[in-house]
Amino acid sequence: MIAPATGLETPAVARWQDYLALTKPRVMSLVVFTALTGLVCAGAPMNPLLAGAAILCIAVGAGGSGALNMGYEGKLDALMRRTRSRPVAAGRVQRADALGLGVVLSLFSVGLMAMAVNLLAAGLLAFTIFFYGVVYTLWLKRRTPQNIVIGGLAGALPPAIGWAAASGTAPANAWLLVAIIFFWTPPHFWALSLTTSDDYARAGVPMLPVVKGEAFTRRRILAYSVIVAPLGVLPAFTGLGGLAYLVASCAAGAAFLFLAVRLASLRPGEAAMMTRARRLFAFSIFYLFLLFAVLLAEHLLCLRPLRLSL
């Protein structure tokens, strides 16, 4: 529990807040939000207490995979400015404690999901934790510049878990929500990695800007933006979203594309690159939040008078 002496005046003592930080609460909040949207969009009658238990399981599972990630990545995190104050990287929590917490939270969340909700939701949750905690963290992250493309599946699955928790099924509309997050992830993370590529290079993580350069990354961001903008509109034509969703997704998708084009159109080495990358990164968070918030509001308030079909 107490890390070896660091020579600092303040001893590196693990507080409960450090263990909370291991669960990546900010990531968890996005996971909970998208899972809740999937659960509500399923439109299946569900006891509110069991719905709460399902969301709690998803949150705890996400926390468990976050703790596994931080446990494995302590040395790597210590090399990067963005992550060096994390509990394991800073030496406040031992690696084994973080991994232990990750395993316990993962087992409890999957076990409770199976007991309280259903096996499909539990299976999808177990797969998500395994994919993030093991496949992404141990295998993809340090091996390929496609790490966050493939690994993004873990962050994309929560709407399907929520949907499965409510209805016991995972139909095409659930996977459409998964696809939106999946294709949103690369432009989101690559915009961030453009601003921190020196950190990734120092740590030896083969992020796309490190391996292929800034210009290539900016073109790839644009390519994925061209996919995600129309994909984000699609739920309005599959019975999932209504008029409000159609308007919001069209407007936000156009803004997403505009920012991606502005970033991609820069010449190599132009000073505006960092600003435009940060702007796209910030907007991408707003974009995903807006799409899921409108879907959630439409389903909760029954605001879907317009039925469109392709």
Binding site: P11, A53, A116
Partner: protein
């Protein structure tokens, strides 16, 4: 210079905080399992065999 007494006080405070947090989590887990069990069994109580 760090004072060993202060250091142990800080460590003790941190340990106490962790223990309280763990107690709350364990209690919450027991409560959740209890509530889930009641909800799941609720539909069967009074049902004909």
């Amino acid at each position: 210079m760090s004072d060993p007494n202060n250091e142990s006080t800080a460590a003790a405070r941190a340990r106490r905080g962790r223990n309280v947090a763990l107690a709350i989590i364990l209690f919450a887990f027991v409560a959740i399992v209890f509530v889930v069990t009641i909800v799941k069994l609720g539909g069967y109580v009074g049902a004909p065999h």
